[in-house]
Amino acid sequence: MIDWPLVSVIIFLPLIGALIILFIKEDELTSINIKWAALLATLGTFILSLILWLQFDYSNPSYQYEEKFRWFDDFNFFYHVGVDGISLFMILLSTFLTPLCILASWNNIKKRVKEYMLSFLFLETVMIGMFASIDILLFYIFFEAVLIPMYLIIGIWGGNRRIYASFKFFLYTLLGSVLMLIAIIVMYRNTSSMSIEFLQGNYFSYNTQLFLWLAFFASFAVKIPMWPFHTWLPDAHVEAPTAGSVILAGVLLKMGGYGFIRFSLGMLPEATEFFIPLIMTLSIVAIVYTSLVALAQTDIKKLIAYSSVAHMGIVTIGIFLVNQQGLEGAMMQMISHGLVSAALFLCVGVIYDRMHTREIEFYGGLVQRMPLYATVFMIFMLGSVGLPGTSGFVGEFLVIVGAFKFSSYVVIGAAFGIILSAVYMLYLYKRIIFGTITNNKLADILDINTREKIILIPLAISVILLGLFPNLFLDPMRLSLELIITNYEIANAK
C-alpha cells in the first residue's frame, strides 16, 4: 500500500494549482500560461487518482487510504478522508472530467481566464474532497462550498439569463443543504460522532430517522435532482458555459445519488424502508414526465438537461431497490451518465462554438460537413439511449433486473422511460445530423479539430469500455455496496 497521504494530495493538488495561478499576472500573452497551469494541475490530479484505482484493494469493503487528524478540539470532528468502492469512481469521474473541461474552454473563454480557471480548480478540490470525506462535517463543508465556484461559473461566463439561473441554482441548493446541516447536528448530538463509518450502524430511533431522512432528502433530492425539485436544473444547464454544464451534469448531480447511498441507505435504513414508495413514485413520474418534456424542447442543451433528470430517476429507483443489482445498476448509471451527458454537452459546445446557437431548428444535415462529429455524437447518443455495448445499457439493465424483485409496476415505468429516451435522443440526432444542409450558414462549418478530438475520443472510448467490460468497474464497488445492503437488511429485519 501507499504510505504517503495520496487522498489529501489528490484533494489539494488543484488548490495548489489555483494558488500558483493566483500569482500569474493576467494579460493577452500570459493567459495561455494560466490555461497550461490549470491543465497540468488537473492532469496531475487525474494521474494520481489512477494510482488510487490501481492500488485499490478489491477485497476490502470499507475505507482505504484513510487519513485522520484531529480538527476541532471540543467536538469529535476529524479531518478524515478515505476512499471506498462507492467513492472511488466518483472521484475518478471528477478528476477525469475536469481536465476535459479546461480543454473545452481553451478557446471559447476569452474574458477573465484567470478567475475561470481558479473557479474550476477550486471546484475540483471541493468535489473530490466531498467524495473522499469520512467525517460528515467535512462532507458538509465541501458539499456547500461547491456552490461558490458554480455560482460564479454560471453567473460570469453564462448566457443571457445567467443571473436568474445562478441565483436559482444557489438558493435552491442552499435551501436543501442547510436542512441537512440541522440533520447532521442532530445526528452528532445523538451519537457524539461525525464519522460516516461509525454512523452506518443504525443508532437512531424510528421517529428521529424519519425526520433526519426528510432533511437529507431535501438536500439530495434537490441536488440529484428529483421531480418536482428539478426546476433549477434546466435553467442552470442552459445558461452555464459548456464546461460548467459538463461538471454540473457529470459530477454535481452524482453528489445527490452518492448522498442517498451513504446517508439515507447507510444511516437511516428503517426510514428508507418507510419512504421507498415515495421515492419510487417520484422517480417514475420524473422519468416519464421529464422524458416527455425533453421531447418537446427546441434547445439542445435543455433537451439534454431534461434527459438528465430522467436518467437520474433510474438512478434513484436503482438506489432505493436496495438490492445488489439495483445498487450496482445505479452506480453504473451514475458513472455512465457522468460520461455520456458530459460528452453530449461537450458535443453541443462544439457546434455552439461555431454557430453560437443551440436551437435544434437551426441545424440539420451536419453529417454532410462533419462526419467525424456525427460519429462521436452517435456513440454518446446511443450511450444515452442505453444500447447494448455502451455504458448506458449496463446500468439500465441492472436496475430493471433489480426492479423485478421489487415490483413490476416500477419496471414498467422505468422501461417506458427508456423507450422514451430512445425516442427523444434519436429524434434529436435525426434533426441535427441527418438530412441535407438546409441552412446556408452551415455550408462551411468545420469538422472537429484536434483539441476537440482530444476531448471527445477518450470519452467515447470510456463509454464503450464501460459497456463492454462493466466488471472492471463493478468489481471494486461490489463489496462496499454489499456492506451497505447487509447493514440495511439487518436493521430492517429487527
Binding site: F72, K114, I141, I156, L179, L181, I185, V186, R189
Partner: protein, 478 residues
C-alpha cells in the same frame, strides 16, 4: 497587591479612564496634526488596556463593592471590544482625514465609549450597568452627530439620542421595578433572592420585560431596531463602522449576562421574549435588506440579522450557547472590520462609496478588492469554508443541544433568504456589465491594509486551525 495604592492604575478600566483624559489633554495642546497623533495615542492606549485585561485575572479592585464582576466570559468580550475599537480607529483614520473631519475629539469619544462598554460587560449591578450604558451611549450620540454641518449626520445623532434616551428610560423603569420587588441592585443578590421562589410575581415580570426592551434596543433586535438603519445611514461612514463593530459586542455580552446571572432560574420567562426577538430579527434582517440600495443600510439590516442568530444561542442558554456566542461575535467583528476597512477606502468619483450599484465593474478594475468583498459576503451568508459558517454552526449546535428544532430550522431558512442579498453584491461586482470603468479608486493606508489582511486571513484560514479560538471560547464561564 492591595497594599500598593499605585496598583489601582493597573486596573484596566481605571487605566483607560485616566489615559483617555491624558489623550484629551494631549490633543488639546497639540497644534499640528492633532487628529492623527491622538488617534495613534488612542490605539496605543487601547493596546495597553488589552494587555492589562489579559493579565488582570485576579484583581479585587475590579469588583469594587461588587459593582463589577469578573470572569473569563467578561474578559473575552472586553478584549473583543477593545480589538474592535482599535481596528475601527485605524481603518477610519484615513476616512476622517479625507472628509476633513479632523476633530481630535473623535478618537477620545471612541475611547470613552469603549470604556463604557468595558464597564457594561463587567457590570454586576443594575446601577453600574445603567451608568456604563449611558457612558457608552452618550459618547456614541455625539459621535453620530460629529459632522456638524451635515444635515444627515445631525439627524442621525438626534434620532439616536431621542430613541436611545427613551430606551434608557424604559430600562431604568425596569430596574426600579426589579429593585422594588427584590430589594437589591446586585445581580448575585437578586439571583439569591429569586432562588427562593418558583415563579416571578407580576411586578418582577414587568421589570424583566422593560429591561429586555431596553436591552433589545441596545442590541438593535426587532422590533426595537428602527433606529439602526437610519443612524447607520446618516452617520459618517467611519462612525457607522464603529457602530457596527463595537457596541454590539458589549450589548450582546450584557444581554447574556443579564439573562444568565440574575434571572438564570427563570429561563421560561425571559426565553420567550428572546425567542421572539431572535426570530423576528433574523427574518426582518434578511427580508428588509433585499430592497436596500445603500450599502450602509444593507449592513445595518445584516447586523440585525446577525443579532438574531446570536440570540438563538442565548435561548439555548447552555455552555454551548456561550461558546457559540463568543465564536459568532468574534466572526461578526472580524467580518465587519474587513468590510468596513474596504468601504472606507473605496471612492467612486472622489466620493466615498454609498450606493451598492456603484460597485459595478469593480471586479475588472480591482480584482483583489472584489474578491475580498465576495469572500466577506459569502462568509456573512454563512457559506463554508469561511469563518461565518462556523459561527452559525456553533449556534445551531447549541440550539439543538437544547432541542430547539423549530428555531433552528427557522434560523437556517432565514440564512437562505439572507444569502440572496449577499449574493446580490457579488452579482453586481462580477456579473453586471459596466460601461464606466475606472471611476472606482481604492486607496488604503498601510495600517488599514494590515488590519484588512489580518481579518481576511482569519476569515479564510479559520477552518485550518479552528481549535485556537474554540479552545478559548469553550473555557468561558459567565
Amino acid at each position: 497587591m492591595l497594599n500598593n495604592i499605585y496598583n489601582i492604575f493597573f486596573i484596566p478600566e481605571i487605566f483607560l479612564a485616566c489615559s483617555s483624559f491624558v489623550c484629551l489633554l494631549f490633543g488639546l495642546f497639540l497644534k499640528k496634526n492633532a487628529f492623527r497623533q491622538t488617534s495613534n495615542l488612542a490605539v496605543f492606549v487601547l493596546l495597553l488596556t488589552i494587555l492589562l485585561v489579559y493579565y488582570d485575572s485576579e484583581s479585587n479592585f475590579a469588583n469594587y463593592k461588587s459593582l463589577f464582576s469578573h470572569s473569563s466570559f467578561i474578559n473575552f468580550f472586553k478584549i473583543l471590544a477593545l480589538l474592535g475599537s482599535i481596528a475601527s480607529i485605524i481603518i477610519s483614520k484615513d476616512y476622517f482625514l479625507g472628509v476633513k473631519l479632523k476633530n481630535f475629539e473623535i478618537p477620545i469619544l471612541f475611547l470613552f465609549s469603549t470604556l463604557g462598554m468595558m464597564l457594561m460587560i463587567a457590570s454586576n449591578n443594575l446601577m453600574s450597568m445603567y451608568l456604563a450604558i449611558e457612558l457608552q451611549s452618550l459618547s456614541l450620540y455625539v459621535a453620530a452627530a460629529i459632522k456638524r454641518d451635515s444635515i444627515s449626520s445631525a439627524e442621525s445623532g438626534v434620532k439616536y439620542f431621542i430613541l436611545g434616551a427613551l430606551s434608557s428610560g424604559i430600562l431604568l423603569y425596569g430596574f426600579s421595578l426589579i429593585y422594588g420587588f427584590t430589594g437589591s441592585m446586585n445581580f448575585d443578590d437578586i439571583s439569591l433572592y429569586l432562588s427562593k421562589y418558583d415563579n416571578l410575581n407580576l411586578g418582577l415580570i414587568f421589570g424583566l420585560v422593560f429591561v429586555m426592551v431596553g436591552l433589545a434596543f441596545k442590541v438593535s433586535a426587532v422590533p426595537f431596531h428602527m433606529w439602526t438603519p437610519d443612524v447607520y445611514e446618516g452617520a459618517p461612514n467611519s462612525i457607522t463602522g464603529f457602530f457596527a463593530i463595537v457596541p454590539k459586542i458589549a450589548a450582546v455580552a450584557l444581554i447574556y449576562r443579564f439573562c444568565l446571572v440574575p434571572f438564570e432560574n427563570f429561563y421560561l420567562e425571559w426565553s420567550q421574549i428572546i425567542l421572539f426577538l431572535s426570530i423576528a430579527s433574523m427574518f426582518l434582517g434578511a427580508i428588509a435588506a433585499i430592497a436596500q440600495s445603500n450599502i450602509k443600510r444593507l449592513l445595518a439590516y445584516s447586523s440585525i440579522g446577525h443579532i438574531g442568530y446570536i440570540l438563538i444561542a442565548l435561548v439555548a442558554a447552555n455552555d454551548d450557547g456561550i461558546k457559540a456566542a463568543s465564536i459568532y461575535m468574534f466572526s461578526y467583528m472580524i467580518m465587519n472590520v474587513a468590510i468596513f476597512a474596504i468601504l472606507l477606502s473605496l471612492k467612486v468619483k472622489n466620493e466615498y462609496l454609498i450606493n451598492i450599484s456603484d460597485l459595478k465593474g469593480l471586479s475588472k478594475s480591482n480584482p483583489i478588492v472584489s474578491l475580498s468583498i465576495s469572500i466577506i459576503m459569502l462568509s456573512m451568508a454563512g457559506i463554508p469554508p469561511f469563518i461565518g459558517f462556523f459561527g452559525k454552526f456553533y449556534v445551531f449546535i447549541a440550539a439543538i443541544e437544547q432541542e430547539l428544532y423549530v428555531l433552528s430550522v427557522l434560523g437556517v431558512l432565514a440564512s437562505v433568504i439572507s444569502a440572496f442579498y449577499y449574493l446580490r453584491i457579488i452579482k453586481i461586482m462580477y456579473f453586471d456589465e459596466s460601461k464606466s470603468e475606472g471611476i472606482i479608486n481604492f486607496h488604503i493606508s498601510f495600517q488599514s491594509k494590515i488590519i484588512l489582511s489580518l481579518s481576511l486571513f482569519l476569515i479564510i484560514c479559520f477552518i485550518f486551525y479552528p481549535s485556537l479560538l474554540i479552545n478559548i471560547s469553550a473555557s468561558l464561564t459567565i
